[in-house]
Amino acid sequence: MSHEKKAQADSRWLDDPEVFRINELPAHSDHRFYRNQDEIERDQSSFVQSLNGDWRFSYAKDPMSRQKDFYKADFDSSNFDTIRVPGLIEFAGYNKIHYINTFYPWEGKEFRRPAFTMGPDQDEAGMFSKGKDNHVGAYIKKFTLNPDLQGHDVRIRFEGVETAMYAWLNGHFLGYAEDSFTPHEFDLTPYLTDGENTLAVEVFNRSTASFLEDQDMFRFFGIFRDVSLIAQPAVHIEDLSIKPTVNDDFQSGRLKVEAQFSGQQSGVVAHLTVAGATGKQVYESRSEVDSDVRLADTSFKTIHLWDNDNPYLYQLTITLTDKDGRTLEVVPYQFGFRRIEINQDKVIVLNGKRLIIKGVNRHEWDAESGRVVTMSDMKQDIETFKKNNINAVRTCHYPDHISWYYLCDTNGIYMMAENNLESHGTWQKLGSVEPSYNVPGSVPQWKAAVLDRAKNNYETFKNHTSILFWSLGNESYAGDDIEAMNSYYKEVDPSRLVHYEGVFHNPKYKQTISDVESRMYATPTEIEAYLKDNPQKPFLLCEYMHDMGNSIGGMKSYMGLLDKYPMYQGGFIWDFIDQAVAVKDEVTGQKVLRYGGDFDDRVSDYEFSGDGLMFADRTEKPAMQEVKYYYGKY
């Protein structure tokens, strides 16, 4: 039912775990496309029109009191407020800022069980569509297409909307989406007018997706990443797959490039070039795009390998020209040759050498805007990584802003690309493992939703050299549904490793989930016990060294394991940056940093939001010199 085309919105989708995408275009690679080389150099595609900026906005405390007809073409929105997009509704002052860790944000306020966990007939209808705590943001944006987009098919892309969204254009229903941290695209073409268009977006604070998005973080909602209109060139690479492989000699390799096209392809030629880092062209091909989707399948006698020390990237450029020789689009993408695998000694090796993960977990955070991060934030974070010998990042616990993946490619950061999934509130109860209503678990009605998340993550980011691991999610226990996610990644991408920690709590899935033995916060003694006892999988710590306040003592004991056990591969410190919110102190007027509970938000986990190596203002905590020392030593 989830892939059926729908002409009308239905609020009951909020209650149904089997409905998570309606009328969305399929997830595809995140390649950018331009009209010409000049646009590439300016990184400004005239196919794209940003809708970031001021939008009209109306807030409703629950679904019952919302203005249901606001999406209609003739709706009078003159009484709406103005809100900044991208931005969080809480930061705009409409809804209380709230931090909570394991518990669901409705703890102590609403009794909820995920649909079908209490029985196959327990569909929990109305749980969210009539939820008294399900706040609603109604957004309206009026726009006129830029001349450069006119005459093209046009889609809209939302890069991040929390938690569930409906969209309409000029009164026509576009679609519905969950999975807050991956892009959602809808086709606008049938409904566009030449003059002013009215886009309406209804964002709900909660839906069944809320059970899957219980990450230990401030709980927000709203359109928190970029929104763009994207014109489709007459013929367009809809999806691109770049597969560089490294041969056993680690000196030569092979490159396969495949593409899926949209549009009328007759007579169109794809010109593909590959250049080295100096700009020197090393490969070129021309192909008719009619039928063959394979644009390159060629061997390279000598290759430069990509790694943290030398993140060597090749420049791939694909130019589509029509039968008259006119350029339709130019697609640039940088890729690297690198090989990640587990060797015969059960050691993870990168390019034949043992991988040592000197990593951090990184939530996206900016004290001034919460989950809305800027290019400057991301660049600063990369600089901090490089300066302090941090070589790896786990995108805890959701896919990040797209630019972050490109930055990790160019800077040689090893990435564990994690799905948007954390459901610890369904199985961790006051410190004990109690999975009686765990989702996704093995509940059949929840499987498609988590598989969709896996697919969104894979399809969007598959071409990023920096990604060495796909991570199925965080702290969601283990069952058939997560096992299916594992199988999905194994099927679509044998070139990378799959990571999941949650099998530790349900070991019967150990054979079928995760290529690595992953733990969090295991003591050095516990790790040693595993490594001494006929270990079946290489070991890594997806979270360790909990840097809450004045911490990071005893790092030596972890680093010392690297000297003793080749199968110990390092880990990701928890975490990179404190989550705290910059506010004006009500007493002194000074700018100060506030944490959970400081907004009358209850139930809260208070200062547990601040566990970073960085303070929330992006200055380093004193412990960073210790991390720099040990991460530099290995």
């Binding site: 916060y521 306040g549 010199q625 040990y630």
Partner: protein, 320 residues
């Protein structure tokens, strides 16, 4: 005529004064410590230095319950009993020079060296004893030796040191030790060197907690440019140096006591900074880091209560 090769001693009724070339120190009998430390006309003490046992609870301390286990040391840190005081002249114990025994002395008493030893007893159950000895020589240098006698029925200590509260806020300090904020289990990244710190920065942890410790220090010089003396309007900087004898020490220099830090839930709740709290530490507990909800600090970085702790240092005029 001033005698600069010897110390002049004033055997007061409530205090013992020790003076020399442009310095004068007063040891109080009733207040349990060194009440005045004047060099170059500038007072260096706000209240008497006392042994210190508490560190403001860190997030890890809270998570693993250490503060609850060691709670007796918070009381010990705030209040302490002085059981007795000994005085040694030129290394010889003398009869305690209180009234009326001090009638035997005059206004012209000179010695080569004098040592005042405070015998403290902690208000823990059971109590533990701490002896703090100040040895003054004519060159104005004070050697401070601190001895904690192990007491096996007490919980592990959060910290052990001597706390000096200076009357005004320092403009900065310089030290020869490790870079950054270091703890016994987090000092590998500290680079040895001489570091100048402006002001008295408090590490801005979200919840104020113990911070600013510098391990493996050879000396620290604290510089102020103000006093509480209404007749002194000079803003010319002046300095005092704490220096190791044999073993390096740890220290912190902050505008707050452990209790002031403990009491705040946010940085902005800390009082306006107006004094300098220099703590010279003989034992520091590690901060830990395995997790923040139960994991203990590794055992080699604990401070067991049942073992003696000794440390010493000297206090000297001026900069190093």
């Amino acid at each position: 005529m001033a005698n600069t090769s010897q110390l002049k001693v004033i055997y007061g009724d409530g205090t013992l004064g020790v003076g020399g070339d442009d310095f004068h120190y007063i040891f109080s009998y009733s207040r349990g410590g060194l009440e005045s430390l004047v060099i170059g006309g500038k007072e260096w003490l706000y209240r008497e230095p006392k042994p210190t046992f508490w560190r403001a609870t860190t997030d890890n301390d809270r998570g693993n319950g250490f503060s609850k286990k060691s709670i007796q040391w918070l009381g010990a840190d705030m209040f302490i009993d002085v059981k007795s005081i000994d005085v040694k002249v030129n290394n010889q114990l003398i009869d305690f020079p209180g009234a009326p025994l001090n009638n035997r002395y005059s206004n012209n008493e000179f010695v080569d060296q004098i040592e005042i030893i405070y015998h403290y007893e902690t208000l823990t159950i059971p109590s533990a004893t701490v002896d703090v000895s100040y040895t003054v020589t004519a060159n104005s240098v004070i050697k401070v030796a601190v001895h904690y006698a192990g007491q096996k029925e007490l919980p592990e200590l959060p910290v052990f040191g001597m706390r000096f509260v200076l009357p005004t806020k320092a403009i900065g300090y310089q030290y020869d030790g490790l870079s950054g904020e270091t703890y016994p289990d987090r000092m590998a990244g500290g680079v040895p060197g001489v570091y100048q710190i402006d002001g008295l920065p408090v590490t801005k942890y979200l919840v104020p907690e113990d911070n600013g410790v510098h391990m493996e220090t050879n000396w620290v010089t604290v510089t102020r440019n103000s006093t509480k003396n209404n007749a002194d309007s000079s803003s010319v900087p002046f300095s005092l140096t704490f220096e190791k004898v044999d073993q390096p020490f740890a220290f912190s220099a902050l505008p707050y006591t452990a209790e002031e830090l403990e009491n705040a839930t946010h940085i902005e709740e800390l009082p306006l900074s107006r004094r300098t709290v220099v703590t010279i530490l003989g034992a520091v507990r590690g901060v830990g880091g395995i997790d923040s909800w139960g994991a203990d600090v590794e055992s080699q970085y604990h401070i067991p209560a049942d073992q003696d702790i000794d440390f010493d240092f000297v206090i000297k005029r001026g900069s190093k």
